[in-house]
Each structure stands twice: as structure tokens, then as C-alpha cells.
Symmetry: C2
Subunit: 324 residues, 2 copies
């Protein structure tokens, strides 16, 4: 038999991370392979299968892998496909679940990375017991997972929860999606970087940022600079939080969540991002919603929430199948 686990996979533009996760959320084995190196999805799946079986053969523990959960950009829970993923080299509509099941012969389910993160928080983090909450993932872009009545909101087509593309600023910054002013062009690792350079253009104040070219600025640096009192860094967090809080006020008017969780590199900035976001959200909320909703960092901030979330996705599905 072996130890019962599922395989959680987080497909990112550069790396694909994965782990074997038991039902309590413990990760028994984790590793990663390159996503970018494989030009086609078929090559990627073949290489991934080879790599995983080699690694598992070297381990002392015997695992019984009951299913595979996948978080991927534009992953669609209903169709099992990944459709035109924005940051991957693979184009078109990829029948990911089918290809994986053909290779692995175990039940596979896919969703987008932010929905996976929301499920991870719900099964293994601080959203346990909450029926209505929002997960915001702040990476290169802004992803979101909405939970209503205890279930992920997939919507009619499986693509619900794209808060990165709500209108934050009229005719604002150019977005990769073809629109302008989308929330993620301001609120994300890339977004706050753009805001740093916007501020350098507007203000005369001295700042170390004046010595760093756009292409070299790492978002992590912005938090360090805020800590050391850099006025541009502090102001960048204020602007970012203002826009995030203002948009979240509108999200609250939709689903009225109990809590909002932040995950990702920018969420690690802690109070620098959370305080201005809270302040702005409260200012923009309809009075009936005020002083009710907490914005907190994910409890899994230091763990691999994407892998845990992908694992949660398939554990949830396996449980449901058993019940029905």
C-alpha cells in the first residue's frame, strides 16, 4: 500500500514545484523542475514523469499516490484544460488533465494557482471554518480565489475570480491582457516596481532607487528600503495599498467575505502593504460593511501554499467522490 498521499503541482512560468502531501497537509517530499526548458506540454509531462519516478525510486518511503492536483495559470476546473496561459510557452487550449491521466493513470484535477491557494488556506491554513473569504495572491501578477458558501467560485465557465483585471484606474497602465488600468498593473511585484519608477519621475526626494535600473530592481528590495526609511519605498507601499484597498471594497460589495488573505512576495512585506490596504478599504466600504473584515497574511506564507493548495484540490475531490 504505502503512505497515502496526493501529488500537488504548482506550474509557474519558470519553475514547476511539486510535493507529496498527506491528508493533514504535511509535505513528505518536495522538488522542482524547469517549466521553461520544455517547449511543448507533451515534452514537459514526459520529463516530469521521468524525473519524479527516478526521485521516488531513490526514497526509502513507499508512497501510494491517490491523485494529482494541479495549480496552473488559466487552469480550468471544469474542462481540465489550461487555456492560453499568459506566462507559459505552451499556447492554445491544452488538455492538461487528459495528458496527465494518460501518463500517470491516476485521477487528476486542475485549477488556477490562486484558487489552489484559497483551497490550501481553507484545508490547511487560517481559513479553516470560514465559508466566505477571498485569497489574493501577489506575485508577478495579482491572482484571486473567491470562496462563497464554502466552495470555490468557478463561475459558469470555470474562469471566475480574476480580480487582477478589475478596473483600478481609468485609462491607467498598460496590462498584459490588452486592457489598461487593471489592478495587477499597480498591485503585484511588477506593479509596485512600476510605482517606484512613477514616484521617481514625480518627486525630487533623494532615494537609493535612483541608482537602480528598472530591469534590476527586485521587489524584495522595496520592503528592505521601506524598513530603512526610504521615502519612495514607503510612498510606493501607500499607493499600492490605497488602490488594493479601494478595489477590495468593491469585492466586499459583491460577496461580503469574513476575511481577506494576502499571499505572495508582496504579502511578505507585512504591515507595509497591509496597513494602507486596510485603511483604504475601510474608507471606501459601504457603511454596513465597515469594521467587520480583516485583511491578514496567509497562514501558509512561509510554506508552499501553491503545492499545498493543489493537493487540497485533489483531496477535496477524492473525498467528494467517496461520498457520492
Amino acid at each position: 500500500m504505502g503512505l497515502e498521499v496526493v501529488l500537488g503541482i504548482d506550474i509557474g512560468g519558470t519553475f514547476t514545484k511539486f510535493g507529496l502531501v498527506d491528508k493533514s497537509g504535511e509535505i513528505h517530499f518536495e522538488d522542482e523542475i524547469s517549466t521553461r526548458e520544455h517547449a511543448t506540454v507533451e515534452q514537459f509531462i514526459a520529463a516530469f514523469f521521468q524525473h519524479l519516478t527516478n526521485r521516488l525510486d531513490q526514497l526509502d518511503t513507499v508512497f501510494h499516490i491517490k491523485g494529482i492536483g494541479v495549480g496552473a495559470p488559466n487552469g480550468n476546473y471544469y474542462s481540465g484544460s489550461i487555456e492560453n496561459p499568459p506566462n507559459l510557452a505552451w499556447k492554445g487550449k491544452i488538455e492538461f488533465v487528459k495528458l496527465m491521466e494518460d501518463q500517470f493513470h491516476i485521477p487528476t484535477v486542475v485549477t488556477n494557482d490562486a484558487n489552489a491557494a484559497a483551497l490550501g488556506e481553507m484545508l490547511f491554513g487560517d481559513a479553516r471554518g470560514l465559508s466566505n473569504f477571498i485569497m489574493i495572491t501577489l506575485g508577478t501578477g495579482l491572482g484571486s480565489g473567491l470562496v462563497v458558501n464554502g466552495d470555490i467560485v468557478y463561475g459558469n465557465d470555470g474562469f471566475a475570480g480574476e480580480l487582477g483585471h478589475v478596473r483600478a484606474v481609468d485609462n491607467g497602465r498598460e496590462c498584459g491582457c490588452g486592457k489598461r488600468g487593471c489592478l495587477e498593473t499597480y498591485v503585484s511585484a511588477t506593479g509596485i516596481k512600476r510605482t517606484i519608477f512613477e514616484l521617481l519621475s514625480e518627486e525630487n526626494v533623494e532615494s537609493e532607487f535612483r541608482n537602480i535600473p528598472f530591469s534590476k530592481l527586485k521587489p524584495k528590495r522595496i520592503t528592505a528600503m521601506a524598513e530603512s526609511g526610504d521615502p519612495i519605498a514607503i510612498k510606493a507601499f501607500e499607493r499600492t495599498g490605497f488602490l488594493l484597498g479601494r478595489s477590495l471594497a468593491d469585492s466586499v460589495a459583491h460577496i461580503s467575505p469574513a476575511k481577506i488573505f494576502l499571499f505572495g512576495g508582496l504579502a511578505k512585506a507585512g504591515k507595509w502593504i497591509i496597513d494602507p490596504t486596510k485603511k483604504s478599504m475601510e474608507e471606501h466600504l459601504l457603511p454596513i460593511y465597515r469594521n467587520k473584515i480583516d485583511i491578514v497574511p496567509s497562514a501558509l506564507l512561509k510554506k508552499n501554499i501553491a503545492v499545498l493548495g493543489a493537493a487540497a484540490l485533489i483531496w477535496k475531490k477524492l473525498d467528494r467522490n467517496r461520498e457520492s
Copy 2:
């Protein structure tokens, strides 16, 4: 025994409409009483009870009223209360369900009028079979009922679905809620009226509207004027639809509905409001959502959807109680 029906009640600022509705959605009796005349909710309920029993005594049919469903501004499904209703004379937190059950001794349930309308469409209208849709009610204000995975979205506190108060315009028109730029200050019977007067201030074009004072303009008139080619009326619908469509694009990014229904006086304007709304929504949608979502008038536009919806609310609850 008598014919099995429920009592559906729609509490509005001026009138309270009600009807006896059977399980197929047929209204067997309907009537209305004044809301405004009764200074306290206790007086209102006593008068309503008196009025209803008098009327039912005069009828030939004997009804067996199994339950009462109520749609009311700020009606809260969870708590059974009406909290600080914006358009009613009754203030504070009113324990409406308790007061009604004390008087009528039958199960009573309350929600807001827009949620009731969504339920009406789901049980008796064109949303039958849809698991994810949005109902927008365009009356004095803009109300909304969101349906996700086949259930109304009540949210953590019972107050979800206030799309009338999302940010339509930065620092825009003054709203009754205390904020500025809320969607309902532009998109509602009152909103389009304000737009007419905005246009009269901006443009020099001849229009019959120049002879009508603000206090006398009836929204119904605006549709008639658009039909007769009045350029201000036509432009007012375009602006209204532009803002509604732009906001709906953001709502789609939240819950990705199969359809969006419009109800209320302004929805009766048909193509005048629907065409510019569709056009604008498509323009502002994230590409993955384009050409998927229909915006249509409610199938119950000519019926009393609010009474039917309130009836649907209690029928749904009675069914659930029987199942569990």
C-alpha cells in the same frame, strides 16, 4: 386544508405589495397597502394583518398559507432583521421575522428585494437551470442579487451583493450612502435623471427636457423621448449603459455568470439601456470572458417579480426544511 400557497411581500418605501403564490409561481391574489402611513413597524404589521384577514374573508377560495417570504431594503436572511433601511421611516435594527411570526404564527423569512428578485427569476423566470447569474434591479436605486453554485450569495453577514455601491466614477456624484461616485448615482431611475440634467448643462442641443424641472421628470418619460429621437435622451442612455457595462465587466471578473438579468423601470427601456450596456461590458471584459455572457431583461418584467421572489424565498426554505 385549502389551496397551498405562500405569502410573498415586497416592502417598498411608499407601498408594500403582496400576493398569495402557489408552488408553480401563479399569483392567486394580490394587493398593496401603504408603507409610509405607518410610523412604526409594529403599527405597520398590525394594520397589514388586519387588512389581509379582512380581504381573505371576502374571497371564495380558502387558502392554506404555509409561510411568508419578505423582500425589504437591507433585509438580512441570516438574522431575520431589517437593518437601517435607507428608504423606510422605521429606524435601527428591526427584528422583522420575529415580529411577523408573533403576529401570523407561520414560518417567515426575509432578504433584500434584489435577492428576492434573483430567486424569483431562478424559480419562475428565465434563470431556471442556471447556477451562476446576476440580477440587477434598476429602481430608485440599483440593487443586485448574485447567484453562485445555485445559491444566493448572502456573504458572511447576510449583506452581500450591493453592486449599487461599487465605484463607478472616482469622486463622482454624491450618494445617499455617504460615499461618492457609487454606481447607483448614475445607473438607476434617479441616476439617469441626473445624467439628463448633466447633459443639459454640457450640450447646447435643443431638447424637450429643457422645459421640464428636475422635480417633475419621470424616468418613464426618458424612454419615450429616446423613442421620439430626442438627442439628450439617447445620449443619457448611452452614458448610463457605458457605466453599467463597465462595472458589470468587473462583476464578471468576480463570479463569471452565465447571464445578467435587468429588472425594474429602467430595464423596461429595452434596447435603449441593454445595447450600450452590452457594448461597454464587452469592451471592458478580460478577453477570456468575451462573447459568452448575455444581458437580458427579466422574464418577469411585466409581473410582480418582487412578490414572486419573496414567495420563491419561502418556498425554497420550506422545501429545504422538508428535505433535512
